[in-house]
Subunit: 236 residues, 2 copies
DNA sequence: CGGTATCCCCGTCGATACTG
DNA sequence: CAGTATCGACGGGGATACCG
């Protein structure tokens, strides 16, 4: 006899009628907010979502997605895409507020927070392809401090979309950014500026004149980069 | 030799630089959002906070509070009160948005979500004492479906504050509310209205004429009671 | 591509008792 | 009142392999 083991014991966790508690029972599960972030960012396919949460096991992602469906926050279409319901879309301002808060009040990133795959994935997703010149534009990223396997990246950008290569695709390169993983991460997050990084020598840009002009419009920063930071408090 | 076991391993959980992830590492811990709800509601003392999260063990509450202090969200004063820092106060709109979302999209309460202690504690905390007549006003609550130990409650309200009794304090009673635990919980949450409950007979109010007039101003509902609910979707 | 199945470890949490 | 100490259990979730 096979006993099906229960999958969702999360229906009641806190034993509280407070709506904050009822929302938390769904949302405070590990990885849940990040899965929602991915869905809100527009990812729909399982492996597409996974690329946004690569350190999550597929088993667990599957479980969380089913939980979202059960809760009426997401839906699974017949062609196996995950889309947000009205309830799910209403979580957008909450996730954004969380990101803004994290930007303001969680200041320092630890080295374990840095991840080249994730950074390149995020950057690729936000490339402003409408601003590109016709044809193909290739951007080469070098994380000089990263191990060889994750040191070199190429963004192949066209008006039809952007692709990531972790090997040289062989096309002509419009611009090369040579920097550290932390530097580009902090630029992406808006913690530091492009010029600040270049002036300190930790970022070197080699680009054709056209790319030099176009780069700031092609590459966009995290949606939280513009979040105003709290003024530092002086003690003296 | 005693090895002090590490208490906070939560510094890096997700291995992501995304500020949503960094915020989630703090906030998605079990009970954390509810502890913050209590702090934002104004509770400061350990056992005062505990009354808002009675099913949380003191060990765990202590751990979470220290985590909040470590993260710069709360501070512990020399006289052992917990207060929110500017970072903590900025979480207020997030918690409120969570409550509003939970009100809109987590419709049905299970029986395990109902808790008479918690309900009376919440009601007591929101009594509009400035609207009270001089002297003492006593309100008697009866949860007719609850076990005897949690069936009878008295709210002793004065302009200096409100106290909860789970035994008859012996004072003159201005009003008696005889209802079920679920009914008063749903009224408190704004799921149903006072009159609706009275008309269906599941709530009976016996009050002096003065109390009958004053009651609606003395007793306030949850801050989420007024949240507009999504319109039900018809299927036909 | 889009997941499941299985195993097992270890961290988290609950329970209880106790202390300054 | 404001927590700490200790212990044990459990179940969440990581790792890995596999399937339609």
């Amino acid at each position: 006899m096979v006993v099906a083991r229960p999958i969702f014991r999360r229906v009641t966790v806190y034993g509280q009628f407070c709506p904050v508690a009822k929302a938390a029972e769904l949302l405070d599960q590990r990885w849940m907010l990040l899965v929602l972030r991915e869905l809100l960012a527009g990812s729909q396919h399982f492996n597409e979502i996974r690329r946004g949460v690569p350190k999550m096991s597929p088993t667990l992602l599957s479980q969380r997605l089913r939980e979202l469906v059960r809760a009426g926050v997401a839906e699974r279409t017949p062609d196996k895409r995950y889309t947000l319901t009205p309830a799910g879309k209403e979580l957008a301002p909450i996730i954004e507020a969380l990101g803004a808060w994290g930007t303001r009040w969680v200041p320092a990133l630890g080295d374990p927070d840095l991840d080249p795959h994730l950074l390149v994935w995020d950057i690729h997703r936000s490339v402003n392809i409408t601003a590109l010149p016709p044809g193909r534009t290739v951007l080469h990223l070098i994380f000089r401090d990263a191990p060889p396997a994750t040191r070199y990246w190429w963004l192949v950008m066209t008006r039809d979309g952007t692709e990531i290569c972790d090997f040289d695709p062989g096309y002509e390169i419009a611009a090369t950014l040579d920097t550290t993983l932390r530097t580009l991460t902090e630029i992406w997050r808006g913690d530091i500026g492009w010029t600040q990084a270049q002036n300190s020598g930790v970022l070197q840009v080699a680009a054709t004149p056209a790319a030099h002009r176009g780069l700031p419009t092609w590459l966009q920063l995290s949606k939280f980069a513009g979040t105003p930071r709290p003024l530092p408090v002086h003690s003296g």
